[in-house]
């Protein structure tokens, strides 16, 4: 919220530097985004009087003027403005003057005639028409008042002011006003709060003879107050008012509208002014819209309503959207004779819903959404009438219409000083608490530790002792909070078991050279479709977001693969020659719901590898190594994941359950995800992985008897998978087969086309004796028998 420093200082002194003020406000809870001079770039422009004005001899439009700027000699200045003439008072930029846009005025010659400065238009010195009515860019700004020549123009336009941009917390809508920040300022500065005394001069008559108000929705409109101004004299507002509005970023319209905006800025109460003659039947009715009712607002837009909106209507139909924007029809115009001032309080949720659904956000709706106190409505309305008096903008009719069926009761709380001090952890004496609360305009009566505290009417955020505690602590000073340590029994902290296990996995992957990546949890449903999963796969039905940022991020991921593919593609595209990446993250299963009805969230591990040493076996090995370290025995089997190369894809199985899928990305899939070259990916189902993880048990004794190794080269068909054969040998040869390793695969005409010779090294050992030659022969023969009978694999000749 931007506020003029001059305006603020009118109500509370700020006897310190802007930086010091900013810091004190911040430390007491009123954020400051920044302070900025309103015209930082304007310098050296003064009031000058054009003494003489003649045509330039070499130009058909330039004039040569002599200008008195209060110096010993008048200046000779060449000017091209059409409205320049003798006797006018204008802004003069002297040599060395600085203008907005970084312009510096230098001495020069114009068509041979020396010019020592520049006569300025409004825009040239950053003065818009709404700040000082002039002809704008069409010519010079001509002062309509008499100022001494040589006077700096900045104070005249109010451009010597500073604007402070406050950042008001969500619980303090009362501070969205000059009075609000003035109240905080006075306490923070320890200066006197000088809010104006409100007196209204009325001309008699009775408002009830002029207007009638009926509020049909007192829940949504807890208070509606109105005053009538007759004999309205529409005109422009005085400079000071235009300046205040300008500093706040608002445009001056006319005196009546400016008064309503001024009141909103000063008190935080949005107001509305109706041309009473356009209010049919002189009767304001506050009701909900009817289905499909139409309204054209002040900005000329037509809205069709759905029946939930709170409307301000007259006897024939809507004249405004309550608390958001007035209607075009009852707008104040040059010809307005009588005005009805509305100052009301509306239900914030209702305003919020309507503003959102119609897509309108105004200063007024912003105030109402954050909360406007019904209790202070009359202050604002009377202040507006006082302004009418001051600006002589009309005559205030006596009496008020105030629909306020259920006056808000002031919040009174009984609080304990000791308990509040304990909550804050700061030793604040009850006397000090009382003093702070008094300064904040709370009414306090204290009896020892117990205080009965009544919040001022403008504070709607105070509900409980904790709130009073915060008020006290804000001004006692957060810096007084000491540093103490938790005293209670210290519970046993630590990661949960999944967290610990995942941390181990991450460590192992780091050791194997993998880098962790993170991608968004939402993906495009198209990327799931691109995986060509089976129709029955639940991953095809992701959880959809109702209001996504875009199609790309419109559903929750059911697998980490699309994210991983994107990361891999980025790296390949960026020219990173090889990569080993993984992501460990949440996937969302919309089909299986928790007890709360929420989707099941589980963690998945996805790994990807390309370039360098990457191949199918390298990546499968990584996953197998993770399994081995977790004490999980896995077997490898082919699988049918369609996004993987049909000849290079496998599942890792433990106890009949698939723990992981690994393979080379199918060229079709690679194309869809912009992956070039061979890319290998794996996914690990972490819940299953952790369920199968075996804790480390007792160590085995180191074998005391020697091992014997026999190498066997077995010739088999090319299509025969080695895995099942080895698995059969492992089970078939019993526990004396300590280890079996494959160390070579040979292909050649010697062994016949379509065959391969696979060399295994079998290690035999008994735990209780040295194996005899007969035993070894028997074991070897058994191995050969299994190979021959089950796999048609025979010893190579």
């Amino acid at each position: 919220m931007k506020v003029s420093m001059k305006w603020l200082k009118q109500y509370a002194d700020i006897p310190v530097s802007p930086a010091e003020y900013e810091s004190r406000m911040v430390m007491t809870g009123t954020g400051v985004e920044g302070t900025e001079p309103i015209a930082p770039e304007l310098e050296g422009v003064v009031v000058g009087k054009v003494l003489t004005c003649r045509d330039h001899e070499n130009s058909d439009h330039l004039h040569v003027c002599t200008v008195d700027v209060g110096e010993a000699e008048p200046l000779q200045i060449v000017c091209g403005a059409p409205n320049v003439k003798e006797g006018i008072l204008v802004p003069v930029a002297k040599i060395g003057a600085k203008l907005p846009g970084g312009v510096t005025i230098k001495k020069g010659k114009m068509r041979g005639v020396e010019s020592s400065g520049m006569l300025c238009s409004g825009p040239e010195i950053g003065v818009p028409v709404e700040l000082y009515p002039s002809v704008g860019t069409a010519g010079l700004l001509i002062f309509r008042e008499d100022y001494p020549v040589g006077t700096d123009v900045k104070p005249i336009f109010g451009l010597d002011d500073t604007v402070i941009d406050f950042e008001i917390l969500a619980n303090r809508p009362d501070c969205l006003s000059v009075w609000g920040v003035a109240r905080e300022t006075a306490v923070a500065m320890g200066t006197e709060l000088k809010l104006p005394e409100i007196t209204v001069k009325e001309v008699g008559g009775d408002i009830h003879d002029y207007a009638k108000v009926d509020v049909l929705e007192s829940e949504l409109c807890p208070r509606y107050a109105a005053k009538v101004i007759k004999n309205v004299r529409i005109g422009e507002s005085p400079y000071w008012l235009r300046q205040y509005l300008y500093a706040a970023g608002m445009r001056s319209i006319n005196n009546i509208v400016d008064i309503t905006n001024f009141i909103m800025l000063e008190t935080g109460h949005p107001m509305h002014a109706f041309d009473l003659s356009k209010v049919r039947g002189n009767h304001i009715i506050v009701r909900k819209a009817e289905q499909d009712e139409k309204l054209t607002t002040l900005d000329g837009k037509e809205y069709s309503l759905n029946g939930t909106e709170l409307m301000i209507c007259d006897e024939q139909g809507p004249t405004g959207l309550a608390g958001i924007m007035g209607g075009e029809e009852s707008e104040i115009t040059e010809g307005t004779q009588a005005v009805l001032f509305e100052c009301a309080a509306f239900d914030r949720a209702s305003i919020r819903v309507t503003a959102r659904s119609l897509g309108i956000r105004t200063e007024a709706s912003g105030h109402f959404e954050r909360g406007v106190s019904p209790a202070t409505v009359m202050d604002a309305l009377n202040r507006a009438c006082q302004m009418v008096n001051e600006l002589d903008a009309g005559d205030v009719v006596s009496g008020v219409i105030d629909c306020y069926p259920n006056p808000v009761k002031p919040v009174t709380l009984t609080v304990s000083c000791a308990r509040m001090a304990r909550r804050a952890g700061v030793d604040i004496a009850p006397e000090e608490m009382e003093e702070i609360l008094n300064k904040l305009l709370f009414t306090v009566s204290r009896n020892g530790d117990e205080m009965v505290v009544t919040a001022p009417a403008f504070r709607q955020d105070v509900e409980q002792e904790a709130d009073i505690c915060e008020e006290v602590l804000r001004y006692a000073g957060y810096e007084r909070i000491p540093i103490t340590h938790l005293r209670g029994e210290t519970p046993m902290g630590g990661l949960n078991s999944t967290g610990r296990r995942e941390s181990i996995l991450r460590g192992q992957l780091t050791g194997m050279g993998f880098y962790e990546s993170m991608t968004f949890s939402f993906i495009s449903p198209k990327t799931i479709a691109a995986l060509d999963l089976k129709d029955s796969d639940p991953r095809n039905e992701p959880l959809m977001i109702r209001n996504p940022l875009g199609e790309d991020t419109s559903c929750m991921r059911t697998t980490l693969l699309p994210g991983l593919f994107k990361t891999l593609a980025t790296n390949i595209k960026n020219g990173n020659e090889s990569g080993k990446l993984y992501e460990l993250g949440t996937i969302y299963d919309a089909k299986n719901r928790t007890a709360d009805g929420l989707p099941t969230e589980t963690h998945e591990l996805a790994l990807g590898m390309y370039g360098g040493q990457a191949d199918f076996y390298a990546l499968r090995g990584v996953v197998e190594a993770l399994c081995k370290q977790a004490g999980i025995r896995t077997t490898v089997a082919s699988c049918d994941a369609a996004y993987l190369h049909p000849g290079r894809r496998a599942a890792l199985i433990a106890d009949g359950e698939c723990l992981a899928v690994v393979g080379e990305v199918h060229p079709d899939t690679a194309e869809k995800f912009d992956l070039s070259g061979r890319v290998y990916v794996a996914t690990v189902n972490l819940p299953r992985f952790f369920a199968k993880t075996q804790p480390m048990g007792e160590v085995k004794a180191i074998a005391r008897f020697p091992a014997v190794t026999r190498d066997l080269a077995l010739v088999m068909r090319e299509t025969q998978q080695v895995g099942p054969l080895m698995e059969a040998l492992r089970t078939g040869c019993g526990k004396m087969l300590e280890d079996i390793r494959m160390f070579d695969v040979f292909r050649g005409v010697q062994i016949g086309l379509g065959n391969k010779s696979v060399a295994f090294s079998l290690t035999f050992r008994a735990s209780d004796h040295t194996l005899t030659e007969e035993e070894i022969t028997r074991l070897t023969e058994k191995a050969l028998k299994i190979s021959k009978e089950q796999f048609n694999a025979v010893l190579r000749a």
Binding site: A466, E470, G493, Y515
Partner: protein, 342 residues
């Protein structure tokens, strides 16, 4: 020839040959030639049969003494040569230790996990348990039980993703607080790290997906000073002993009083620099005393228990820790970025 002479001659020859021997193999050949089964000295010993029985023991002793002497000499020489050969070998095996080779690659965890690990280490060592909660969450836990009813303006600050009227992508990690309080009796001391979601377009400082760490302590007589002490310990552990914490008044619907927490700028140590925009302080987290209304809604007696809560933005502290200027780098997974972490 007399045995004695022979002996002397053998000895002399061996000495000569031994001296000229420059390799272990030559020395071994010499040993065989003299002392081997067919060696000259052995032959001499064999020839002793021709001697008289009186001479035999004398000669035998003489030859044996000579043999011992020769063996000792050969052993000595062998040691010498072995040493020399070893030295040669070591010289010959010299490699250019400055030649480069490819390194075995050690990867790295994501920078945010590196920072998160440090933060969790810090809090778990203070007795905090790590608790996680669902990311797709009921509005009830994400808002209502945290004192943010429907159409409350505080919801505007957090543009929330909705699944349906009652289910949201959690906009903060605070719902884990509510879930914990509803199921666990005080004392409670937890930290809840996790993903949160807000409908912000991606740019250098915004992301629709980001991470928070929520902290919650509920016990008897917990004060705001304890909160400051806990965060002070955290700040010093993570950023160094000279780091101070500053509390500024703030507002969150679920805490009262609330504070915004600044730390001494760890770049300039409070002098004022670009990172802290000249203030010497860096805004790091929000916190406060748990609003008694929240305690009551979650079934905890606020007249008996009090507590504090805090929320740390992981992206923010990661970016500050490593001087990362653009948040997008954290989610792109470019190895040129990821490989810088260790």
């Amino acid at each position: 020839m007399d045995i004695r002479e022979n002996l002397a001659q053998i000895g002399e020859e061996m000495r000569k040959e031994m001296e000229s021997a420059d390799a272990l193999a030559a020395l071994e050949a010499l040993r065989v030639k003299v002392l081997g089964k067919k060696g000259s000295l052995t032959a001499l010993l064999r020839g002793m049969g021709q001697l008289s029985p009186e001479e035999r023991p004398k000669m035998g002793q003489m030859i044996n003494e000579a043999r011992e002497k020769m063996t000792a000499m050969l052993d000595e020489k062998q040691k010498e040569l072995a040493q020399k050969e070893k030295e040669f070998r070591l010289i010959a095996e010299t490699i250019d230790v400055t030649e480069p080779r490819d390194l075995p690659e050690i990867g790295a965890e994501h920078p945010m996990n590196l920072v998160l690990n440090e933060v969790l280490d810090c809090f778990t060592s203070m007795g905090f348990s790590v608790v996680e909660g669902p990311e797709v969450e009921l509005d009830l836990y994400n808002f209502e039980l945290l004192n943010v009813p429907k159409n409350h303006p505080a919801r505007d600050a957090q543009d929330t993703f909705y699944i349906d009227d009652n289910v949201v992508l959690r906009s903060q990690t605070s719902p884990v607080q509510a879930r914990t309080m509803l199921t666990q009796k005080p004392p409670i001391r937890i930290v809840c790290p996790g993903r949160v979601f807000r409908a912000d377009e991606v740019d250098a400082t915004h992301s629709p997906v980001f991470h928070q760490i929520e902290g919650l302590v509920i016990d008897k007589d917990v004060t705001m000073a304890d909160l400051k002490g806990t965060l002070d310990a955290f700040a010093k552990r993570l950023y160094g002993q000279d780091i101070e914490v500053r509390f500024r008044p703030s507002f969150f619907p679920f805490t009262e009083p609330s504070a915004e927490v600044d730390l001494t700028c760890f770049n300039c140590h409070g002098k004022g620099c670009r990172v802290c925009k000249g203030t010497g302080w860096i805004e790091v987290l929000g916190c406060g005393m748990v609003n008694p209304k929240v305690l009551e809604m979650c079934g905890i007696d606020s007249t008996v228990y009090s507590g504090f809560a805090f929320g740390i933005g992981v992206e923010r502290i990661t970016m500050l820790r490593y001087g990362i200027k653009d948040m997008r780098l954290l989610y792109e997974g470019d190895l040129r970025f990821l490989k810088q972490f260790r």
